[in-house]
């Protein structure tokens, strides 16, 4: 009589799911430029980075500090930036968020959003600076639509990642 209940007691979430869901979600986010979307200006938010930051904000310490390097390589290969750009920028951003995590321990939602917004701006502007390293006039205004779109879709991504976190830890 107790057997069906016993099977549901004292269980652990699947360790495979626990490890794979965050990684797969970041890689999927990086793969959004492969969608059949042809645009003549950068508009698509950097979803890979946004998912990465969301996990870091929801579960500090989930990623090792060096996680920006492997994810960055994948994002560069898929996304069209010169290889090395996301490796550098994402590593710097993750180190920065790690420092913030140590210093400002109790944060509210708006502060998290602000941190994410600053990270997105750093990533996009850094990407532009790297791309146009040799061009003498850098027009940041090209990026405004993408920045605004990314900052305002971040809460949605955060929600989605929170959902994924429930899936990840489901018993």
């Amino acid at each position: 009589m107790n057997a069906p209940y016993r099977a549901r007691l004292n269980r652990e979430p699947s360790s495979f799911r626990k490890a794979v869901v965050p990684i797969a979600s970041v890689l999927l986010g990086s793969m959004t430029p492969l969608l059949p979307l042809v645009v003549s200006a950068p508009v698509l938010p950097p979803f890979g980075l946004m998912v990465l930051i969301s996990w870091q904000i929801l579960r500090p310490g989930l990623w090792p500090v060096w996680a920006g390097m492997p994810f960055g390589v994948f994002d560069d290969i898929v996304g069209g930036q010169p290889v090395g750009s996301a490796v550098l920028l994402w590593s710097v951003i993750l180190i920065g968020i790690d420092l913030i995590d140590q210093r400002y321990i109790w944060r509210n939602y708006w502060q998290d959003w602000f941190i994410a917004a600053v990270s997105i701006i750093v990533a996009l502007a850094g990407g532009l600076a790297i791309n146009n390293f040799l061009v003498n006039d850098i027009r940041l205004s090209v990026l405004y639509p993408q920045m605004i779109l990314a900052i305002f879709t971040f809460p949605l991504v955060l929600r989605l990642v929170a959902r994924l976190d429930r899936v990840r830890l489901k018993r």
């Binding site: 492969l34 938010p45 310490g61 060096w66 290969i77 010169p82 990407g127 790297i130 146009n132």
Partner: protein, 331 residues
């Protein structure tokens, strides 16, 4: 959220070392990024193999989804066309009648044009089409402007072949894989195209701005001759791009040139054509073989050359027999 407990490892040597190694790896990662960037600068083709593998893997689903996107767009167009089928049909029939006459006139003009060009010793070398393709995706989140087309080296596509759509130039091929190729779009900041004004041939450069528009930069410094609405076409200087392909229409004037809107918007094109690379040097040896061909109409040439130079000749005058044109007295 509260930080995890492993931030304070206590006296555990192993935990302390683990944290230290983590930071070491993170900074090494950032430095590796710098090195990779340097490599990408000095050898832009360094990662093209890896890139094309990724593109090849992603191409089949992207092609499928592109098909779905295009077919939904066109089926919607078909449905909406039913709403005004009757009046549209009548209008189109009238237009067909008118166009048939114009077509005949245009054919005659084309013939005349060809003869005149032969006389001038100009051979218009059209870039022969290599392949027809679809744009399947683009670097939508990067500030570089690339697009992927679904043909590659197996279909004969090679590096730096021009890519055009029906309405104008799209860009040129940058990297090829077996079945996909990456196209550098006109709006990329590193894509510089020699252009001229279609009306009178004012020479300029077009350089991408990264937002779907191009900077038109004058070569001669002086009074800015551009006007809003001028159409720029490729000049064919320096090869790669064949001449007389529409590029941009001028939208706004700046102090040293203008800002142009691209005529062929990559987002709105279904199919693109990859053409052979334009090589202006090849036009010269061909001119040697021409004079025998153009012996017959040479007598009518002076009279004809005078007419179209002033204004685009009215279409009705074109199909006149050559004898009457030569007999008319000239002022």
């Amino acid at each position: 959220m509260a930080p995890p407990r492993k931030r304070r490892p206590g006296f555990s040597r192993k935990a302390q070392l683990q944290i230290f190694t983590g930071y070491l790896l993170a900074f090494t990662g950032a430095f590796a990024g710098l090195l990779l960037l340097a490599l990408s600068y000095f050898d832009p083709a360094a990662f093209s193999a890896v890139r094309s593998i990724a593109a090849e893997v992603a191409a089949p689903p992207a092609r499928l989804l592109t098909g779905v996107r295009v077919s939904t767009q066109s089926s919607w167009r078909e449905v909406s066309a039913y709403f005004e089928a009757g009046s549209k049909n009548a209008r189109l029939e009238r237009e067909v009648e008118r166009n048939r006459v114009r077509l005949i006139e245009a054919r005659a003009l084309k013939q005349e044009n060809r003869e005149l060009r032969r006389l001038l010793g100009l051979i218009k070398q059209e870039g022969r089409p290599v392949a027809t393709a679809r744009l399947i995706n683009s670097s939508a989140s990067s500030s570089r402007r690339y697009a992927t087309i679904d043909v590659g080296s197996r279909q004969g596509v090679q590096r730096s072949q021009p890519v055009r759509a029906q309405r104008g130039l799209i860009g040129r091929v940058l990297e090829t894989g077996p079945n996909t190729a990456r196209v550098l779009l006109l709006s990329d900041a590193e894509n510089v195209v020699p252009v001229r004004r279609a009306r009178d041939g004012v020479v300029a450069f077009s350089q991408g701005r990264g937002d779907g528009r191009v900077d038109i930069k004058l070569i001669d410094i002086g009074i800015n001759p551009f006007k809003v609405g001028d159409v720029m076409v490729t000049s064919g200087n320096g090869g790669v791009y064949p001449p007389n392909v529409p590029v941009a229409i001028i939208e706004r004037l700046t102090s040293d040139g203008a800002i142009g809107k691209l005529l062929a918007n990559p987002a709105g094109t279904d199919f693109v054509i990859v053409q052979e690379m334009y090589e202006p040097e090849l036009a010269d040896p061909d001119t040697g073989t021409l004079p025998p061909v153009s012996v017959a109409p040479a007598s009518t040439a002076p009279a004809r050359r005078a007419e179209p130079a002033a204004t685009p000749a009215p279409a009705s005058e074109a199909p006149l027999p050559p004898g009457t044109a030569a007999d008319t007295p000239r002022p």
